[in-house]
């Protein structure tokens, strides 16, 4: 075990994969000479050189598409998208080209490409640099979508992503880059497998990315015995682990830094409700962001993503009543 920051765990995973496989190449904006705006590629250019590590122009469509083409020819490109929003201008290459190449080649081609992107609110970047947008990709067959919650999962998930034969998007909560944790570099996660952050008996909380940490604090604050499932992969998500947990606890809350409308948690609540209806003790529900852009003002932004206080309030509600609680903006009369 080695103590490292999340951003260092990302560097370590990339470096370990580049050492293990010379087909791994890495490019993005300011990732080589400048070592990444978030210092997620420190020392990579120095160790692996300018053929395999490249700065790109500000052309996400161009270089993400180049990763698709290079991947089809046998390389394993890793590209960094500085802020997830920048993938908006490259969406064709991700959703309509990269995710379809295996299908449109009758299985003769695959696209072992990894896209890393920083995501999430909380740092005052405003509404065009603070979204998570995982639901954009979660409904695209052909992609795999991962999100780490700490240093260990940042390391293990990135290694799994690079080794995977299909296009994988790794969404990195920007707010966690400086967080420290212990990392066992022998651990490579299996894509599609959730991780249990905590185990308990009264309720199942499913969360992703930084919301796992929020949920963990909320469980502590609420003083309850809960299973905390760190989903890690949104597609394909770990139905087995989630269903087994809810079967045991009879209660489910999904905590998402995603909009109330169309977030990935709806899929989980729907699946659990359909499959375990008769064994549920209370209504499964989601704790999400409101359907609003991420506000810049610090006081407002602090209420945008689910907070540990509010998650604790809703956990207590779930344990005492059978119906779902109101979201905070309704409960507090701020919005409908």
């Amino acid at each position: 075990m080695t103590a490292m920051r999340v951003r260092q765990a990302i560097v370590a995973a990339l470096a370990d994969e580049m050492r293990a496989d010379e087909n791994v190449i890495f490019f993005g904006e300011d990732v080589a000479e400048a070592e990444g705006p978030f210092k997620t590629s420190e020392g990579i250019l120095e160790e692996f050189g300018p053929v395999r590590v490249r700065d790109t122009p500000i052309s996400e469509m161009g270089f993400t598409g180049a990763a698709v083409g290079a991947a089809m020819m046998g390389l394993k490109p890793v590209v960094e998208i500085m802020f997830i929003e920048f993938l908006g201008v490259a969406l064709d290459q991700v959703v309509t080209e990269g995710a379809k190449m295996r299908y449109l080649s009758n299985g003769t081609l695959s696209v072992p490409m990894t896209i890393r992107a920083s995501v999430g609110s909380g740092l005052g970047f405003g509404c065009q640099h603070s979204q998570t947008l995982e639901h954009w990709f979660a409904s695209t067959p052909g992609l795999k979508v991962l999100m780490p919650s700490d240093a260990q999962s940042a390391y293990s998930l990135l290694r799994a992503a690079i080794q995977d034969p299909d296009p994988v998007i790794v969404l990195e909560p920007r707010i966690l880059y400086a967080e420290r944790g212990e990392v066992d570099t022998s651990k490579v996660t299996k894509i599609g497998k959730a991780s249990m952050r905590a185990t308990g008996s009264d309720i199942t909380i499913v969360a992703l990315g930084h919301m796992v940490n929020i949920a963990e604090a909320a469980i502590k604050a609420a003083g309850v015995s809960a299973d905390l499932v760190d989903l890690q992969t949104i597609i394909p998500w770990d139905r087995e682990t989630v269903l087994a947990s809810v079967k045991k606890t009879g209660r489910l809350i999904v905590v998402e830094e995603a909009p109330q409308s169309g977030g990935w948690g709806s899929e989980i609540v729907a699946t659990v409700t359909a499959q375990l209806f008769s064994s549920l003790k209370s209504a499964p529900f989601r704790i999400t962001t409101p359907d609003v852009p991420v506000p810049f003002n610090g006081g407002l932004e602090a209420r945008f993503a689910p907070t540990s206080d509010d998650v604790a309030r809703q956990i207590k509600h779930a344990l005492s009543q059978s119906g779902a609680p109101q979201p905070w903006w309704v409960a507090e009369g701020v919005a409908k």
Binding site: M61, G65, M73, L75, S105
Partner: protein, 332 residues
């Protein structure tokens, strides 16, 4: 059974075989059009009548190990590069015998044995991919090159500019081939683009560029050959603009009533089949009787093929669940 690679290899250094393939493409598109009109083909089709010389010129200048990312106007490219009429028509008709097993359709041809990457239904979609394939060849120190084939309309989309810029700064072994057939969907190029010679856009990227006569296979080979040599020898990318003409409408429903009077007739005098026939006759490689014979044989062969493909098996239901993700390896 003849493989795609055998059909490709049969074209090199054989102008007569190239002419026969051009006739095959022409007759194939006629049959495609007829099958569509008869309701035997679903969805849409984009015919490449008039663009045969460019396809054959590229097929005989590139090696089968080079890769090309083309467009939804895909039938001529596929047949020229080696795909069998059976696998192309099978795909257009959604049959299990199609090159994509029937799940792709008319716009999506692919055969990696002859370097045909999945053709894209998105304008400009294949351009970054061709650059990326070239990036792989550069990193792998391979002598192969990537080619992007796209229409005139694509020169106005971001992917065109991003791909050219990226290829230029990284000196990628890629050739960008613009098939300027004068129309982007239903719009004449001069109504959407303020320049006539699209290849000059490469100036912005300090990239060599040229215009070629896309109706003459020899001119195509000469121009593409120069660009291919540059790419293969480490000299970086080139933008080649092939001046062609789309003899058909954009897609199935388009009668192309927007053409200026006399334009089609003017271009028909430069019909690539006609140009090639004149060349082969002048070189005493063919007679008019043989030309007539080739045309009637191809028409009959493809007619018989169409009848056969119509009764080919449909894909199994399981086909719609296949080839989306890579299956996990056994024991993993």
């Amino acid at each position: 059974m003849t493989t795609s690679l055998e059909r490709r290899n049969a074209l090199y250094d054989n102008d007569l075989a190239c002419y026969e393939r051009m006739v095959e493409i022409r007759e194939f598109e006629k049959i495609t059009n007829a099958l569509f009109a008869a309701g035997s083909i679903r969805g849409t089709t984009h015919l490449a009548v008039g663009q045969e010389a460019l396809a054959l010129g590229m097929a005989t200048t590139l090696k089968p190990t080079d890769v090309i990312a083309g467009t939804y106007r895909s039938h001529a490219l596929a047949l020229a590069f080696g795909l069998t009429p059976h696998s192309v028509l099978g795909e257009i008709m959604g049959k299990a015998t199609g090159c994509c097993g029937g799940v792709g359709g008319s716009m999506h041809m692919c055969d990696t044995s002859v370097g045909v990457l999945p053709t894209s239904a998105i304008i400009g979609g294949g351009m970054p991919i061709a650059a990326g394939a070239a990036l792989a060849f550069q990193v792998q120190k391979s002598k192969n090159i990537g080619v992007a084939l796209f229409g005139d309309g694509a020169t106005n989309i971001g992917a065109f500019h991003e791909s050219l810029n990226l290829a230029a700064i990284w000196k990628l072994p890629v050739v960008f081939v613009c098939d300027n057939n004068v129309y982007g969907e239903y719009s004449r190029i001069n109504t959407t683009t303020p320049i006539d010679d699209l290849h000059i856009r490469a100036e912005s990227y300090a990239m060599p560029h040229m215009a070629i006569d896309g109706m003459d296979i020899h001119a195509v080979r000469k121009g593409i050959g120069e660009a291919v040599d540059r790419a293969r020898s480490g000299g970086g990318p080139t933008l080649v603009e092939a001046k062609t003409y789309r003899f058909s409408g954009h897609s199935r429903a388009d009668q192309a009533l927007y053409r200026p009077e006399g334009e089609l007739e003017k271009w028909q005098k430069r019909d690539p089949l006609l140009v090639t026939e004149q060349d082969l006759i002048a070189r005493k490689l063919i007679t008019q009787d043989q030309i007539d014979q080739i045309k009637s044989t191809k028409e009959a062969d493809l007619g018989a093929l169409a009848t056969k493909v119509e009764s080919d098996p449909e894909p199994e239901l399981s086909a719609m669940f296949s080839n989306i993700w890579t299956p996990a390896k056994a024991g993993k």
